[in-house]
């Protein structure tokens, strides 16, 4: 038997790795991957709660998260391609025309 806390701890650890990735990396695509990592850690926590409490709602929520993640990655990658077309880089430090 695996205690519920272990799943939550794993989920937290994965989430933190994602957070650190977003905060420290400079490549837009890998930042995007870190966001996916965070979404997945949240999904893991939801599924764990769902299975331990016997409620299907958590799994439905994960279903929606996956659908939203698919939409988000399609649009996000399109933005990155448009960005690359204009700037020839995906380094977010060099994309600062809106910065005062």
């Amino acid at each position: 038997m695996i205690p519920l806390g272990y799943y939550i701890a794993l989920s937290a650890a994965l989430f933190i790795v994602g957070v650190v990735g977003v905060l420290t990396l400079r490549n837009a695509i890998v930042i995007f991957m870190s966001v996916e990592l965070m979404l997945n850690s949240a999904n893991l926590a939801l599924i764990a709660f769902s299975a331990y409490s016997g409620d299907a709602a958590g799994q439905i929520l994960v279903f929606f998260v996956i659908a939203v993640a698919a939409a988000e990655s399609a649009v996000g990658l399109a933005i990155i391609i448009a960005l690359f077309r204009n700037k020839l880089t995906v380094n977010i430090d060099e994309v600062n025309v809106l910065k005062w």
């Binding site: 490549n27 997945n40 077309r85």
Partner: protein
């Protein structure tokens, strides 16, 4: 220590290691591959939690579609060997990493005490099946489900609009002429 727990701990360690490798590799393709590995491990954990439908969806959508799209874009833009990914330890990034660790410690502090002692719910087996999720989705969550279709349509239109070659004054097109 039973077998299930041992396997879980191995998988959990592998998941964390692969996640760390995602954000520390220099080459985006390698990062993407480690992320795929991470998604696989999470899918196996879903099977541990008897969520078979979500596990398969995880592999089909995340590993099979989203990550292929990522790889496609990385290859299309030829980002294979750039140095953008180097970890230069300046102050911002050091602080960010430290704060991340602090957040992890905080969460773990609460979670460690969160051991209810109860195992998997007896219904866990039945709620993870396609039938049960389908019924719940179409009975209780019909409206959000329909809204998802609108969201996906908007995403398709947005993605096509953004990646159209209309913006012809960019340096990429100029270089090709």
């Amino acid at each position: 220590m039973n077998l299930e727990l041992i396997v879980f701990l191995i998988l959990a360690a592998a998941a964390v290691v692969s996640a760390i490798l995602v954000i520390t590799r220099k080459n985006p393709v390698t990062s993407a591959l480690y992320l795929v590995l991470n998604f696989f491990i999470i899918a196996v954990l879903y099977l541990f939690l008897r969520a078979q439908f979500i596990a398969v969806i995880q592999i089909t959508v995340y590993a099979g579609a989203i990550m292929v799209l990522f790889l496609f874009v990385i290859m299309l833009l030829n980002l294979g060997d750039d140095r953008l990914m180097k970890w230069k330890f300046n102050s911002t990034r050091t602080i960010a990493s430290l704060m991340g660790l602090a957040l992890l410690a905080e969460i773990l502090f609460y979670v460690i005490n969160f051991t209810t002692g109860a195992g998997l719910s007896p219904q866990a087996e039945s709620i993870g099946t396609v039938e049960s999720i389908g019924k719940a989705l179409y009975a209780g969550y019909l409206f959000p489900f329909e809204i998802t279709s609108v969201l996906l349509l908007a995403a398709i239109v947005g993605a096509i609009f953004l990646s159209k070659k209309q913006i012809s004054d960019g340096p990429m097109e100029k270089g090709n002429e």
